[in-house]
Amino acid sequence: MYQSQHTLRKVVCALGVSAILAGMPILGHAWEPQKPVEFVVMAGKGGGADKAVRLLQSIIASENMAPVPFTPVNKPGGSGAEALVHLNGKKGDNHTIMFTLNSFYTTPLRQPGLGVDITTFTPIARMAEDTFLLWVHSDRKDINDVADFVRAARNKGSKWIMAGTGKNSEDNLLTDFLNTAYDLNMKYVPYKGGGKVAKELAGKNADSTVNNPSEQLGFYEAGTTKALAAFTDDRLPLFPKAPTFKEMGYDMVYYMQRTVVGAPGMSDEAAAYYNDLFTKVFNSPKWQEYRTKKSLQGDLLTGDALMSYWKRERDVHEVMLKKMGAIK
């Protein structure tokens, strides 16, 4: 029994080796993926990240940019922990990439037990940075700028509900930021997903939110909600009337990365291939149109530039999490 299994293994190995030889590109040709590429999404189906991945997938497929399909796999568990552990376990894999957010920094910082070191991951391309704005319902005629907002929120004290996506998330960081800067006592209620948060504001179950533009756009265009201020360096073209916190004298600039990252130890040839591919995707009219429509910022970053961006951002997040008391 054991013997026969052994023989079988040998036969299969032999077949495998010959197939590798047959499938190998002729020397000198650039590396290309051999099998479908697993495109891990660090969030659930239907969220902002998921939508972006499906758009990227569709651009690659419809423009015939790659010889194989890219198949999205959602791994939302544990605030991205599941996805990070999965990718970390794929050392040296040339066919697994991931679309990542800022939980890329915060989750490994908060859970050192995961054994994830993001600097070992292969930087591929930062496709955009998403922005945050402060939103209230349009029926609040008394609130037209940040000063009104602060007055109203202070009056209501802890009865002022700020809805956001999960505890210790980006939204939570910004809420804490506002609470400290303006001496407020807003209550933070975590929901699942930015779309849900946007709806809670539109349905008046929350008093304010710090949604991305893409999440509030529908309600904003219908006149249900309004943006008071932006957490960006400069005013956003889509919301020219919303001043930045920076121009009001507060150092509150915060972005959400939308980045493609590869498994640790990916071969240089493969990394170069993906760099090249996502540069093409970035420059495609469809992606540019999406960026304009969703008010996305941030230029294309690849390779070493992306890695040093990650290191910088991770340090920033470490300081923020310490301030919040989420880590020691």
Binding site: E82, V189, K199, A202, G218, A222
Partner: protein
């Protein structure tokens, strides 16, 4: 009003173009097979086929997707009835009576019942959608966490009495389902939770499908192996025949179930509209209520055709209903609509309150194609029923390995993680051993669906109210729903006490 009808009419004209008709027929058939696979549901169908839709214009794409959606919704009923394995959470309630009917050799009746009820549910919901979209969108909008929790309580309440006779085992089953649903990640505190034995596979939680396929697929098949002792190639999953006469008789009998079907349609539609609820609670509640309004509630669970019609009408109605929050609020009411939402973004359409105004031709084209898909699914189904019956006649020792293989792949496909396949086998074997000791397992499966909806809603509400439970009673929508849930929950208890007082029964022992 006339404007709406005109737009809908235009939608229908688009749908009935030859190319689009072809897409509908293809989509329905494909959806049917995807839905019939244990583990694959409309979510998979829609998600995976999304990239294909770049080959056709957006209108054609949405028609194709709607067809797959409807096909898969009905396909779920096929595996529920024939194999007793719910292909998706929306089809769980269909197994309760669909499976017993199939075992009694009336699979054809159950399949016809499911097809017709789905059609009725789909039709009623499309009419409701056409005429009452805007006011209902408002209800969906103000529906917050307290209302969601109240609704989940109502869903639980309609299910009292589903378990077996042993109160302890029923309680155990409900609680283990709820605890398993808590595995993975606590959304409120943002911490990983109950990562059993620190196995990373538990970080994504225990998927409903893993438990359902484990218990109903692997477990049920082991049970069948035992009953037939392999049977030397003779025994079958169920005996059934199909003929025109039987079909007509079944249709005649269906007329009598109109009450359950119509109730299911309305209920499913309204529950489907509510964001986050989706078709599953709708179909479960429809089953529970159908049992309570039935003249012969004792027949439920033993093969009552109303028990198939009500949830099937409800889940189809709910799938139309869940389009409403998606289109008007950009909030998906179900995972499938979440993917559709992604699709709309790719086609350059912005869901939200402006969609009905800016892209009305798209909205009404979608509605019209939902309706057409509904009709075609009915026709294709009825045409396929003899094929399904034939499949059931395959010797068990050939059918069984095929079902096992589909279960294994079905456990793997949603998360593409071998951990889930192993977990499914554990659930199957433990479930089989427990079932032999009369542990009711359906409550655990229901609990794992409702748990993740109920717990965050409760805790979000309590954060808002600063810990006061009054929030569930004070609000306009939450209050009445909660009170209805409590009445339903305690009704059987009151009845028992009342009966005791009225005529003291002699002690049994």
């Amino acid at each position: 009003m006339f404007e709406i009808l005109g737009l809908l009419g235009q939608g229908f004209l688009v749908v009935f173009e030859p190319q689009n008709l072809l897409l509908i027929v293809g989509g329905c058939t494909l959806g049917l097979f995807i839905g019939a696979m244990p583990g694959l549901g409309s979510v998979n169908g829609v998600a995976i086929l999304l990239p294909l839709t770049f080959l056709v214009p957006p209108t054609g794409a949405i028609i194709f997707l709607a067809a797959i959606y409807y096909g898969a919704m009905y396909g779920g009923a096929i595996s529920s009835i024939m194999l007793g394995i719910p292909g998706a959470s929306t089809a769980v309630a269909t197994t309760f009576d669909g499976r017993p009917l199939a075992k009694q050799g009336m699979a054809d009746k159950a399949l016809i019942g499911a097809a017709v009820a789905s059609f009725v549910g789909g039709s009623i919901s499309v009419v409701l959608f056409t005429f009452f979209a805007p006011p209902l969108a408002h209800v969906a909008l103000v529906f917050g966490a307290p209302e969601e929790f109240a609704l989940m309580m109502l869903a639980f309440a309609t299910f009292v009495g589903l378990g077996g006779d042993d109160i302890f085992k029923t309680l155990f089953s409900i609680c283990i389902g709820l605890v398993l649903s808590a595995v993975g990640f606590d959304i409120i505190s943002g911490e990983p939770r109950l990562v059993l034995w620190d196995i990373t596979g538990f970080l994504h939680g225990v998927n409903f499908l893993v438990l359902a396929i484990g218990i109903y697929g692997i477990g049920e098949m082991l049970w069948t192996v035992e009953e037939h002792a392999l049977g030397g190639g003779k025994s079958m999953l169920s005996e059934a025949t199909v003929s025109v006469a039987r079909t007509l008789a079944a249709l005649r009998e269906l007329v009598k179930t109109w009450k359950a079907t119509v109730m299911g349609s309305f209920l499913g539609y309204f529950v489907g509209i509510l964001p986050a609820a989706g078709a599953t609670p709708g179909s479960l509640m429809a089953y529970g209520i159908a049992k309570q309004i039935s003249k012969e509630p004792e027949k439920f669970g033993e093969g009552a055709i109303e028990g198939v019609c009500a949830p099937e009408a409800a889940n189809n109605a709910a799938s139309t209903g869940s389009m409403l929050p998606m289109l008007t609020l950009g909030i998906p009411g179900s995972p499938t609509t979440a993917i559709l939402l992604g699709g709309m973004v790719i086609w350059g359409l912005e869901p939200g309150p402006r969609l009905f105004v800016d892209h009305s031709e798209f909205v009404w084209g979608l509605i019209a194609s939902l309706y057409a898909a509904n009709l075609f699914t009915l026709l294709i189904n009825i045409a396929f029923i003899p094929v399904f019956i034939k499949v059931l006649k395959t010797p068990f020792t050939i059918l069984a390995p095929v079902i096992f293989i589909l279960c294994l792949i079905g456990g793997y496909a949603p998360t593409q993680d071998m951990h889930d396949v192993w977990l499914m086998i554990v659930f199957g074997i433990v479930g089989y051993l427990m079932r032999k000791l009369d542990y009711p397992l359906a409550p655990a499966v229901l609990a794992i669906v409702l748990g993740p909806l109920a717990e965050p809603a409760m805790r979000q509400s309590l954060i808002i109210s600063e810990g006061s439970f009054m929030i569930f009673f004070e609000r306009v929508y939450a209050g009445p729903i909660m009170i209805a849930a409590l009445i339903l929950l305690f009704l059987p208890l009151f009845k028992k006490v009342y009966d005791r007082i009225r005529k003291p029964q002699p002690q049994a022992e």
